[in-house]
């Protein structure tokens, strides 16, 4: 492993399927000592899944992982640590009620006789790691009391506290300021000098261009290309990430009118997004583009009253409104179809008709008793008009396919006379045919005067359905594009740039 030609890591033919969806389709990946290889791709391209397989957090269905001289069909977390893989996960991978020091040494504490903790021996190691990362607080601080950036840096310290040969960083800079990113990058250069191989998963092309030795692009669960950094340009990378060309026939007729229904002015929620402004007209579909963490879902949740804005104005049908809760939002004619439909969109154990009637049960009830016949009537209408494929209106929602479940959620809002529909990733986890049916349903709604705000990571979908596309990056709106004239490359170019981005390395 001392010769650079000898790969440190070689993953071959890695395949992984989740609930019938192929997340990884025979991916090959290799890493040499002392290199920083960036792994990029759109949301859902399979980057995180591949890295979870490497860390032993997921078991691949097929393929081999060769590290140094050893070959494995699958790793588990303990084995992963033993062969020297350090993993910094995208989401917080810390025990919140424990101290920083306890978190850093969790799972590999220094002990006497395998049991008694030798805190005196661990302390200096923790102190040194924290100094390396410019963390100036007590190692006894509880992680719960830290902010997101500090937590992220503690996760990095935790990974570095072990003997590692390979370090995987999954979106490590999402919560960090430029200054902190500078520290991180100089640290990565030092690790590189020690011969540690690093995989750096990121959406941020500026960072990629700055630190990568090689870049691997993934798309739809496959590796598209691996190139040395000297051979790539930002535009070339964006084109490789996007890949598919838009099917122009998919674009459908617009039902947009001139009547203004919703106007959002300078809306901000601290820590989530700031200064978001847009207008929505009757019958219009406004697409929200952006990468994971750009703040799209958060804007939709704020409009639906899940969070309250810290500043800004919302004007609905010509009247300024405060939306303090989802109940109020529903009364005002808004409906949200959340990203996690199984978790927060449906009551899975209940029937199709009950799910459809959910927000209007009060209206369908006399005294406290639901009038089943009226509920059935409402449900039957919507099952017909949305062509929801279900054996009966009494069928349990859990047994329907993803596309039909999504139609049930949409149908519910139609039953409640929703005027503005907020869709968050409406076609995630839905197969191709069902997607096109959903497109027709959404388009059909606009013909009836419903307006739609739709966040989606599928650029072809946004381009095909939207009238206009608002691009978000790092909690801000960075561009407003006409869907008829823009393309995927232009959208991505806006989405990957931090507004007023300074080169992070300069801060170090």
């Amino acid at each position: 492993m001392d010769q650079p030609s000898q790969p440190l890591l070689k993953m071959s033919g890695i395949t992984k399927t989740f609930l019938g969806v192929q997340a990884l389709k025979g991916v090959d990946f290799d890493l040499v000592p002392g290199e920083i290889q960036c792994l990029i791709g759109e949301n859902g391209a399979g980057k995180s899944t591949l890295m979870r397989v490497l860390a032993g957090a997921l078991r691949p269905d097929a393929g081999t992982i060769a590290i140094g001289g050893d070959s494995f069909a699958a790793l588990d977390p303990m084995l992963g640590h033993r062969v020297g893989i350090g993993m910094i996960y995208q989401e917080t991978d810390l025990v919140l009620p424990l101290s920083v020091a306890d978190n850093i040494f969790l799972g590999h504490e220094i002990t006497r006789g395998g049991s008694i903790l030798r805190k005196g021996d661990m302390r200096p190691v923790v102190a040194e790691l924290m100094l390396d990362l410019n963390l100036h607080f007590s190692p006894d601080t509880l992680v719960r009391d830290l902010g997101p950036a500090q937590r992220q840096l503690v996760q990095i310290a935790k990974a570095l506290s072990r003997k590692i040969r390979i370090l995987v960083l999954d979106e490590p800079t999402a919560a960090l300021t430029d200054n902190e990113i500078g520290y991180l990058f100089s640290l990565l250069q030092r690790l590189k000098a020690q011969g540690i191989g690093m995989v750096y998963v990121s959406h941020r092309l500026n960072e990629v261009m700055e630190i990568a030795d090689r870049v691997t692009v993934m798309r739809d669960g496959e590796r598209v290309v691996t190139l040395p950094i000297g051979a790539v340009t930002k535009d070339g990378l964006i084109a490789a990430m996007v890949g598919r060309q838009v099917d122009t026939d998919a674009r459908t007729a617009s039902h947009r009118t001139d009547k203004l229904v919703l106007s959002v002015d300078n809306l901000s929620v601290r820590g989530q997004f700031s200064g978001v402004s847009f207008d929505l007209r009757q019958g219009e579909i406004l697409g929200l583009a952006g990468l994971v963490g750009a703040g799209r879902s958060e804007v939709l949740e704020c409009l639906f009253g899940v969070t309250t804005p810290d500043s800004g104005r919302i004007t609905l049908f010509g009247k300024e409104v405060r939306i303090g809760s989802p109940i109020q939002a529903i009364r005002l004619g808004l409906g949200l179809v959340p990203e996690e439909r199984r978790e927060s969109g449906l009551v899975l154990g209940r029937s199709v008709e009950e799910n459809i009637g959910f927000p209007i049960l009060r209206r369908l009830s006399r005294w406290l008793v639901i009038q089943r016949s009226r509920l059935a009537g409402v449900a039957a209408d919507l099952i017909g008009s949305l062509s929801i494929k279900t054996p009966s209106a009494r069928q349990q929602v859990a047994t329907l396919s993803g596309g039909n479940q999504q139609k049930v959620v949409i149908g519910r809002w139609l039953a409640a006379n929703t005027r503005i529909l907020l869709l968050d990733e409406p076609t995630r986890g839905i197969d191709v045919n069902a997607k096109f049916e959903l497109y027709q349903v959404i388009r059909g709604l606009t013909a009836k005067g419903v307006s739609v705000v739709m966040a989606s990571s599928e650029l072809p979908e946004l381009l095909a359905l939207s009238d206009r596309i608002l691009v978000m990056a790092f909690g801000r709106t960075v561009a407003e594009l006409d869907a008829a004239t823009t393309d995927q490359v232009e959208i991505m170019r806006h989405a990957v740039v931090r507004p007023q981005e300074t080169t992070a390395g300069e801060a170090a």
Partner: protein
């Protein structure tokens, strides 16, 4: 960056000054303060409360619940509940009472082994069987109580002289109290110093993270349930020492009392957090209320209501504290 923020924090702290410091003191030690407050109130309410005899009696009454609560504490911290603690104690008390003819030590060992066996069974059902702790230990509660009643439907009187000696031994601190204190002392030391104890808190705080860090989650869980069973076994022996008999219906309802007591003691019932000594203070508060109400001859039915109110207040207080802590973290960003 970090430094400038910390100076800003310091300035903020000064401005809110004394109130913050008072709150911090209270937040850190509320359980002990409540205990002291209750002692003062009790002394005022009943002149017979602050007598050596009554206090000694209070500790002895707390000992059994206290021993069971140590085990319950461990299980709750790892993110579960052990509903079998009281029933296992009853079973173990009968095993002890029935076998004491073979000698005190062998009988005690057998009784404690029976308790540990029940705990190991709980642990295996939870880890191998992937059954939720609440259900697994509910089943064990039925099994242990059923076995106890099969051994004897009535209490089994023990006539061994050694038991009588142990019962009369000790001055202010009775034998059950001393055993409870020793267990708490050992547990407190182990909790503060061992890797396994740290893992109990880690698993309760975030099981996925612990697993990914290479913590042997299943082994630790098994160990915790086994320990709880072992402590129930010891409690069974202590029950015989205290009451001179093995009691098949002993401690009925106590499984919930242990949960209430450690909740009063600030243990987070969702797991991951708690301090053993505070949990034990919770046990004392719980018993103290009963003790005072008995001294004042309060109607037992009212006693239940008062106790319930205290539980709600204490748990509500600890939830409030947690919420303000997490709000601080968000604003600290």
């Amino acid at each position: 960056m970090t430094q400038s923020k910390s100076t800003a924090d310091a300035a903020k702290n000064d401005s809110t000054g004394a109130i913050t410091r008072l709150k911090a003191l209270f937040a850190g030690n509320d359980v002990f303060l409540i205990l002291i407050a209750f002692v003062v109130l009790a002394a005022i309410a009943s002149p017979s409360f602050l007598t050596a005899a009554n206090l000694s009696n209070l500790l002895t009454q707390s000992a059994l619940l206290g021993i069971l609560s140590v085990g319950q504490f461990l299980v709750v911290v790892i993110g579960g509940f052990d509903l079998s603690v009281a029933a296992v104690m009853a079973l173990s008390s009968l095993v002890f009472a029935k076998t004491i003819g073979y000698g005190f030590a062998p009988a005690a060992m057998l009784a404690i082994a029976a308790g540990a066996g029940c705990g190991i069974f709980n642990g295996l059902v939870v880890t191998w069987g992937r059954v939720q702790p609440l259900i697994a230990t509910l089943a064990m509660m039925g099994i242990a109580r059923g076995l106890a009643l099969t051994i004897s439907e009535r209490s089994v009187l023990v006539s061994a002289p050694l038991i009588a000696d142990l019962r009369d031994m000790g001055g202010f601190l009775s034998v059950p109290t001393v055993i409870w204190f020793i267990i708490v002392a050992i547990a407190a030391v182990l909790l503060a110093s061992t890797r396994q104890a740290l893992h109990v808190f880690a698993i309760g705080g975030n099981e996925t993270t612990s697993r990914l860090a290479g913590v042997a989650v299943e082994k630790v869980k098994l160990g915790v349930f086994a320990t709880s069973g072992l402590l129930s076994g010891i409690a069974g022996v202590v029950l015989v020492i205290r009451s001179n008999s093995g009691v098949p219906l002993g401690g009925s309802g106590w499984e919930l009392d242990t949960i209430a007591a450690i909740a009063i003691g600030g243990t987070n019932l969702f797991g991951g957090e708690g301090k053993l000594l505070r949990a034990m203070a919770g046990v004392l508060i719980y018993q103290l209320i009963a003790n005072v109400m008995n001294l004042m001859a309060v109607d037992p039915y009212y006693q239940n209501i008062v106790r319930a109110a205290v539980i709600i207040c204490a748990v509500g207080l600890s939830i409030l504290r947690l919420r303000s802590a997490s709000r601080r973290a968000i604003l600290g960003r």
